[in-house]
């Protein structure tokens, strides 16, 4: 033995990375996500004030001359919880005869729009008096149209004064 190792030239080895199992797993993962994918409807929110407590202190009266004009919408419920009839009137107005709107949301929208536009920027308040058993869907719809027509201060309360 000479004691000397002759340096052998190593052959170039191409690294073999097995892609197929990785691809299999990726497909499985993708299938899992496709089957469990449920696009959630986008939720939004409407800011509301909670009702005043019984006998609670009222807000401090504004010293501004622009006292808000208050409109009252009464919504009666049908036995199945839908809207049976609606009417709109102006609170404290000389002509207190309410305008009947039936169960037509387009009439309701038009009535609100006409009144809001007639205010010409003066503050306006909308009170929704909700009949017993009316479903939340319709209350939100009334709120929604009220907001769309320009009313910001909207308060839904029960139609029955004992429940307010």
């Amino acid at each position: 033995m000479s004691g000397k190792h002759k340096r052998t030239e190593t052959e170039f080895v191409e690294p073999d990375l097995p892609i197929t199992p990785m691809l299999d797993m990726s497909f499985q993962l993708m299938a899992f996500f496709i089957f469990t994918f449920r696009p959630a409807p986008t939720e939004g929110q409407i800011a509301m004030a909670l009702p005043k407590l019984d006998g609670g202190q009222d807000a401090i009266p504004s010293i501004s001359e622009d006292k808000p004009v208050a409109f009252v919408v009464q919504a009666e419920a049908a036995p199945n919880g839908t809207i049976a009839s609606m009417s709109i009137s102006e609170k404290d107005a000389a002509d207190t005869k309410p305008e009947l709107l039936g169960a037509d949301f387009e009439k309701y929208r038009h009535a609100l729009k006409t009144r809001f536009d007639a205010m010409k920027g003066k503050p306006a308040k909308l009170t929704l008096k909700i009949g017993d058993g009316l479903l939340q869907e319709y209350v939100v719809r009334l709120l929604d149209i009220g907001n769309q027509t320009g009313f910001v201060d909207i308060a839904p309360i029960p139609l029955d004064p004992k429940k307010q």
Binding site: A40, G44, L50, L135
Partner: protein
Amino acid sequence: MSHGSAADKCEPNLVPMLDMVLQLVMFFMVCANFVMEQVNESIKLPEAVVAKPIEKEEYFIFLNINKDGHVLLSALDAIGDDRILTNPKRVETYMKQRAKEDLRAAGSDKNTVPRSVIILRVDREAPFVRAAGSDKPGVYEIMKACRAAGYEKVLLRAIQFGGQIEKP
């Protein structure tokens, strides 16, 4: 000069395919609807055009109200084992406990308002006011119970709806 031999391999290039599949996996992972603990998926929310995008509130209490007017609490929100509050009196008791905790956590004096905002997720079929002779509590009664506990702010959740409201 040889024109191919038994040792030559003919393999499709899988790398671009793998890239694309991994990108798809990433897409579905990111878009996956991770269930929020406090949001009850059985509640069918009404639609509203004016519903504004959700702003993250720092302190909030979720109240999920089902179509029977019962408040469903998540495991995170429940005090004890009671996860369904079936009447407004129990809601008031619960909310008063939450208000106490809220005030204690805020280090406030007795007469201040709790800092949390109440997020109401109300089923579209829940009654707003209790119908005559019905045992289903109305949403208004629950709102009053929250007010009695000292809370003032409430956000009503709805599905954002882009179109014109159709006639009923």
